[in-house]
């Protein structure tokens, strides 16, 4: 049964819930730091450990960031709203509840426009609310690290209380077979918008942006079907695959006359499909009630207006502008955006590099290194100014491509600016014609047979002699210059 065939008989409806960990310096309700990778339970205090009598106070920067996200997603900002307690029994929150928002979210009723294959799709935003992240649990005693078979859990509360923004779409019908791609494009656009606001590093692979995907199927003309909620979707690619695999799985059940159970399912990155988790009915009894320890949020209208006026250029507008300026294709621009390289390439161009030169280094050598080390491009060890200086040396003919790569290695290794690395390592294109001519003459003398062939017009044989010259100059000559010089000396130019 092909995917296309399924879509002739069923219409999917999708919905996405995205959690974004804010990049504030401190937690949502206390002054504990939020540094990633700190020793377990060293960024905790009486408030986030829920010691008796401790009282929370909201982080103004987190409220501001949530309002800015809401505004960037075209939402209305509530004039008055409250936090709520979401009660549940699990040790990842020491309070036995999560402080969240329930029926009074801070931002409501917005939208995001998403472009796929040149067509714009408007995804409605139901709500954006502020809550707190949970602690990290480690299940031990079992063989697999999963809770099944584990005998106990170990908990680190450093993450407990870090501000978390939840962004919920309205149900999106009518996408047909494009539903998986549009879901992915929506999450990518959301990521770019939030990154442009500078309120989170939105790294899915590190968990600062996480996605749950709801999917249901109905036959044309019938009511929407029962939905499943797929958790654990931690990359853009997985968003697309999760929706597709649920469409295929659910259609199989419906075709066989079965019913879809409303349940939580887990996405498996390795297999590309989902497996059932807990059943929804037993888990939704959260007994929400207004948080008595926190006073209501009533954002001043003038403050909201000033935040709105100061919103940055929309990523889609900016991408279109830069694409034009850089003279590259939509596809190339998309890979720059996906690599998170838009800003850094822009800065490199501002530092004097050509668009092509800036893009070449950041999307080539440096992107590869960032991927290998699983770090941000900005942390790779080279600055935009250094990359611009490197490209300038290439443009001036002082470095060839191969030497430039070596110089970049030195820069990244902390040996200084490109000029310093060049000087220290003795790397420079040999432009001294006297020295080059000597090397060329030497190569001709050492290879009389090849030289004779070239003189007879077999220009293709020149490669071998160019190679010999490059070898004696330790790669520091410009191959094109060597070739010209060689042909000139042999009288065939």
């Amino acid at each position: 049964m092909s995917y296309e065939e399924i879509l002739t008989r069923y219409e999917p409806v999708i919905g996405l819930e995205t959690h974004v960990e804010l990049g504030t310096a401190t937690k949502m309700f206390c002054g504990c730091k939020t540094d990633f990778g700190a020793e377990p339970n060293t960024q905790v205090c009486p408030v986030c450990l829920a010691l008796p009598g401790a009282l929370p106070v909201m982080n103004r920067a987190a409220i501001e960031a949530t309002i800015r996200i809401g505004l960037a997603l075209n939402c209305d900002i509530a004039e008055w709203c409250r936090m709520a307690r979401k009660n549940y029994f699990y040790p990842d929150m020491p309070k036995n509840f999560q402080t969240s928002q329930y029926d009074e979210p801070l931002c409501v009723d917005g939208y995001v426009d998403v472009e796929v294959d040149g067509v714009t799709h408007r995804i409605g935003i139901e709500r954006v609310h502020i809550e707190e992240d949970t602690g990290k649990t480690l299940h031990v005693g079992g063989a697999t690290g999963r809770i099944h078979g584990a005998t106990e859990s170990l908990v680190d509360y450093n993450r407990a209380g870090i501000p978390l923004v939840e962004i919920v779409t309205k149900p999106v019908p009518g996408l047909g077979g494009l539903a998986p791609e549009i879901a992915k494009a929506y999450v990518a656009e959301l990521r770019d918008i939030i990154r442009s606001l500078g309120v989170s590093d939105v790294r899915m692979e590190q968990g600062s942006m996480r996605c749950d995907v709801n999917t249901s199927l109905n036959r044309p003309g019938e009511e929407w079907g029962t939905r499943t909620e797929t958790k654990n979707v931690n990359s853009l690619r997985s968003v697309e695959r999760a929706v597709r695999s649920e469409i295929i799985r659910q259609s199989g059940i419906l075709d066989g006359g079965g019913k879809i159970h409303q349940e939580t399912r887990h996405f498996h990155e390795d297999r590309g499909d989902t497996s059932p988790g807990r059943s929804k009915e037993t888990a939704t009894d959260y007994r929400y009630f207004p948080e008595p320890d926190l006073v209501p949020i009533a954002p001043d209208a003038a403050w909201v207006a000033s935040l709105k006026a100061a919103l940055p250029e929309k990523p889609s507008t900016r991408r279109a502008r830069l694409r034009e300026e850089w003279g590259i294709s939509e596809l190339d621009m998309q890979s720059v955006a996906n690599a998170g390289a838009v800003e850094i390439i822009e800065e490199t161009i501002a530092a004097g590099a050509s668009p092509a030169g800036a893009r070449k280094w950041w999307m080539g050598e440096l992107a590869r290194r960032a991927n290998e080390l699983n770090i941000e491009l900005a942390a790779v060890g080279a600055t935009p100014a250094q990359v611009a200086a490197l490209q300038k040396l290439v443009d001036e003919g002082k470095l060839n491509d191969k030497l430039a790569r070596t110089v970049l290695e030195g820069v990244v290794a902390g040996e200084g600016d490109p000029a310093e690395v060049m000087a220290a390592r003795g790397l420079e294109v040999v432009n001294d014609t006297g020295a080059l001519t000597a090397a060329v003459d030497e190569a001709i003398a050492a290879n009389p047979d090849i030289a004779a062939k070239i003189r007879d017009g077999k220009i293709a044989a020149a490669g071998a002699l160019v190679g010999a010259v490059m070898k004696t100059t330790r790669g520091q000559a410009d191959a094109k210059t060597v070739r010209e010089l060689l042909l000139e000396r042999l009288g065939v130019s």
Binding site: N41, N59, E152, A283, V295, A298
Partner: protein
């Protein structure tokens, strides 16, 4: 009519992971009912012009600045833990809410 049923008390006990005996269910249902009835009487005296509130003080927008303060030391943080292992709180596994 009772404000809370025996079944509702059993449900709440399960959500709270409290082992409640049959005899206790009857007793707690009666006790909780008295509490809920008492609270409900407040609603009877509330006039139309008094909006419902969840707070006893008429304040909004109480915030702190995003400036780090000193956290507890790891030892102090774990000193109240029932058990600790490798600098983490050690607790029995909880299976029902997550797979």
């Amino acid at each position: 009519m009772a404000a809370i049923s025996r079944e509702e008390v059993a449900h709440l006990a399960r959500l709270s992971r409290l082992a409640v005996t049959e005899e206790e269910l009857d007793r707690f249902a009666g006790q909780l009912d008295v509490i809920l009835q008492s609270v409900a009487r407040v609603g009877e005296v509330a006039a139309e012009d008094i909006p419902p509130t969840s707070h006893s003080v008429p304040l909004t927008n109480v915030y702190r600045e995003d400036v780090p303060t000193t956290s507890l030391t790891q030892d102090a943080a774990l000193s109240g833990a029932p058990d600790a292992y490798e600098s983490r709180f050690r607790v029995p596994r909880i299976l029902d809410e997550e797979d």
